[in-house]
């Protein structure tokens, strides 16, 4: 490894807030020349914000950035590129219908007599690809090549003679093992030429295959940086999955009597090909079942299959002992199942509607469109829910889009409580929520459980899982790998199971 005096990139005390979200808080990050630096963290941990700040796509609120010891201030990705800092984003942002050449020379075609010289352009495109040892027909449309080749073309496009830093955002997400290996060879080659590479991925194996150092982000903070060789898998997973128990109160007494008895919902071998491996799951009244696993392990997938948002193509479901197949959210709602999705903005709230309308929505769906809830009744339910859940709003007729993240989450919870759900599926109920609301929601989950609801809680925060769950299903690589119950529900046990102990 070539060790230079100053690191290639040094970020100091970087902070960034978006309306309602604290994306990064006082993050220090050091990237050396000639290293592959893996950047890990859950969705919303701040990875993309960090690299966007590094590459000029987003401005920082506070902090300093040094490039080879020089303070820099990028106003745009173009400026960052001019100084040798390039990114390849997760979604390949090329134009599939154009030829490889056109994609590679999009904003700088060689011209002859004012016209584009395609011969020269092809030549340049080939040169660019040669840097990656790639020899393909550059005149064919990009879409005619595999995703792996497209990914390489995207890298070739970002790579200049003088590139100093290359950021690869989930480059292997849609590659198979062999294709990923091809990409790693190229990364090693680039590294040998002294380029500093930031590698974002959620495949732990790949981190150990190719990276020299690892940094982990969680909730907008850097929780650790270490050489890959000195960070065993178990330690890494523990870093990613959340803080040690600090302020959360002791777990509730286990073995709640209510939790015995027949399951309301029992899934047997439910799964979907290329989506989620078949799993068994029982949900009982008065019991919280946790779903634990790393990013991409299948937590959200499990929730969506149970709720019918994604069709299962295998397995059987029994609802109160009767066989049934839940084919749509509509049907799930009729069965008194509620689902608070992970991505509240995209799948949860209906921003233009008022808080009241959002709260009564599922109840209204159950009543059917003809039997509209009278306005007074809507008002009463909304007011009651606002009070019970402590939703901070002056009145119920404000558009829900104007609330903070925590309050939006409560509105969606209220929606399912108002509709008298008996099973509640919560996917990342506390993501992007500030500490105060976080504790409230955790307490609320326990309360709902005590009230006799059956809960399924998926979370990337291991402590949250340990705090709320009576039983934990552990997931890895889209398969259920085991179940832990009662007194065995501890951080250590879960981490061991995730790591494949």
């Amino acid at each position: 490894m070539t060790e230079t005096a100053a690191p290639r990139v040094q970020l100091q005390g970087i902070s960034k807030s978006f309306p309602g979200v604290r994306a990064l808080e006082n993050v220090d990050f050091r990237l050396n020349a000639g290293e592959v630096h893996a950047l890990l963290g859950e969705n919303g941990a701040g990875k993309s914000t960090l690299i966007k700040i590094m590459t000029g796509a987003v401005s920082r609120d506070a902090g300093k950035m040094l490039l080879d010891g020089e303070p820099v201030e990028f106003a745009s990705p173009a400026e960052a590129r001019a100084l040798g800092v390039s990114t390849v984003y997760q979604e390949v942002n090329l134009i599939p219908t154009l030829s490889v050449t056109k994609n590679l020379t999009l904003e700088r075609q060689p011209r002859r007599y004012g016209l584009i010289s395609w011969r020269q352009a092809n030549e340049r495109a080939r040169e660019r690809l040669k840097r990656l040892n790639l020899d393909i027909d550059v005149e064919r449309p990009l879409a005619s090549y595999s995703v792996a080749i497209q990914q390489l073309v995207a890298i070739a496009r970002s790579l200049e003679e003088d590139t100093r830093v290359l950021v690869l955002d989930e480059p292997t997400a849609s590659l198979d093992a062999r294709e990923a290996e091809l990409l790693f060879d190229i990364m090693r080659d680039l590294k040998a030429r002294g380029i500093a590479i930031v590698f974002i991925t959620h495949f732990i194996d790949q981190v150990y295959q190719v990276s020299d150092r690892i940094s982990v982000l969680r909730n907008g903070r850097l929780v650790g940086t270490a050489p890959t060789a000195e960070l065993p898998r178990l330690k890494l997973i523990s870093l990613m999955l959340g803080r040690e128990l600090e302020h959360t109160e002791a777990r509730r007494t286990i073995g709640a009597a209510a939790a015995r008895g027949e399951p309301i919902l029992a899934a047997e071998g439910v799964g979907r090909r290329r989506y989620m491996g078949n799993f068994d799951l029982q949900l009982r009244a008065g019991e919280v079942v946790g779903l634990a696993g790393l990013l991409g392990s299948g937590r959200t997938e499990t929730c969506k299959l149970v709720f019918g948002a994604v069709h299962a193509d295998a397995g059987r479901v029994r609802f109160e002992g009767k066989p049934i197949s839940i084919r749509s959210p509509r049907q799930a709602v009729r069965l008194d199942i509620g689902f608070c999705p992970e991505d509240r903005k995209a799948e949860g709230i209906i921003p233009e509607l008022t808080i009241r309308e959002n709260i009564v929505l599922a109840l209204q769906v159950k009543r059917g469109w003809l039997r509209r809830l009278p306005h007074d009744e809507q008002e009463r339910i909304a007011t009651e829910m606002i009070k019970t859940l402590g939703i901070a709003t002056p009145d119920a007729d404000k558009p829900v889009g104007q609330l903070s993240g925590g309050n939006q989450q409560k509105v969606i919870l209220a929606r399912w409580l108002a509709s008298k759900s008996r099973i509640l599926i919560l996917d990342e109920p506390t993501r992007g929520i500030d500490v105060g609301a976080h504790a409230e929601i955790v307490a609320l989950i326990r309360q709902l459980c005590a009230d006799g609801l059956a809960l399924l809680v998926a979370s990337s925060e291991l402590d949250e899982i340990v705090t709320v769950s009576d039983r934990v299903e552990v997931l890895r690589d889209r398969h259920k790998v085991g179940e832990i119950a009662g007194a065995d529900v501890t951080r250590e046990n879960i981490i061991h199971m995730i790591a494949g102990g």
Binding site: A309, R330, F339, I349, I350
Partner: protein
Amino acid sequence: MDHAGSSQALAPSRWSLGELTSRSWFWPILALALIFMVDAVVSPGFFSIRIVQGRLFGSLIDVLYRGTPTALVALGMAVVIGTKGIDLSVGAVVAIVGAVMTNLIHRDMSPPLILALTLGAGALCGLWNGFLVAILDIQPIIATLILMVAGRGIALLIDEGLIVTFRSDFFSAISTGEFLTVPSRIIVCAGTLLFLWLFLRRTALGVFIESVGANSAAADLAGINAKLVKIGAYTLSGLCSGIAGMLICADIRGSDSNNAGLFIELDAILAVVIGGGSLAGGRFYLGLTLVGVLIIQGLTTSILVSGLPAQFNMIVKGVVVLIVLLLQSRRLRQSIVGVFRRKTS
């Protein structure tokens, strides 16, 4: 309320200017009032209404009368736009419905049956659009473009390429007659508005439509059948266009497939947007859409009575519409600033 802080001091009493301008109805109503005022200046007696030969008579009535077909189409359009869709085929539906009606009249069926079949044809056209959008998942602008293009052809096929005329006292009474001195088509329009309001706002359908338009993924996860809601919205739009087509056809006593309802979709979309509906979906306003129609119609009238050459009509209309929209976007900006202020303080 502790977060209101500074804005509390500015916080408006119920009728302060700030509060008023933030209401969704403020700018459209203001624009309409201004246009009527201009009308009253250039044409004294604009507001006077007399009874001539047992029928209300006056410029205001004339604006309402002429605006009726557009108003009907716009009401349906508002519902479709509420689902984040659009219906370009309304003009073609007007033509189809006219051709169907004319054809049936020549078959000597009983008028009420003809009326039912005619409106049914409109609803069927809407159902087709809904099928393309909701089931085949074609983008609304393309899906309805298909019928927009093909619809006049269908109408011409029914007419066998001719302009077919007819006489029908029943339909003349509905379209150009009057009832208790009020032009009957205005009653038809008011009845449609009442029906839509009851159907959408006194049931939960309106909220479902807005949910699907604002966030279709979230609506789906809340258990709403988004496909059915969309099909319903397009069918309503087809029905509304059908009523408009019936009035237009009965008005000219014939089916003119090439020209009936030509460009009516543009005025209808404009009316919806002037009335505060957003093409991004999520909210629709029936009453304000009618205000939008009156603005457009009032404008046309004022240009005519002011003596400006008719060719200025389109230009002036364009400019005024632009101004109304800009006024509204200022409202939008203010609300964005307002949100921002509340969040930061």
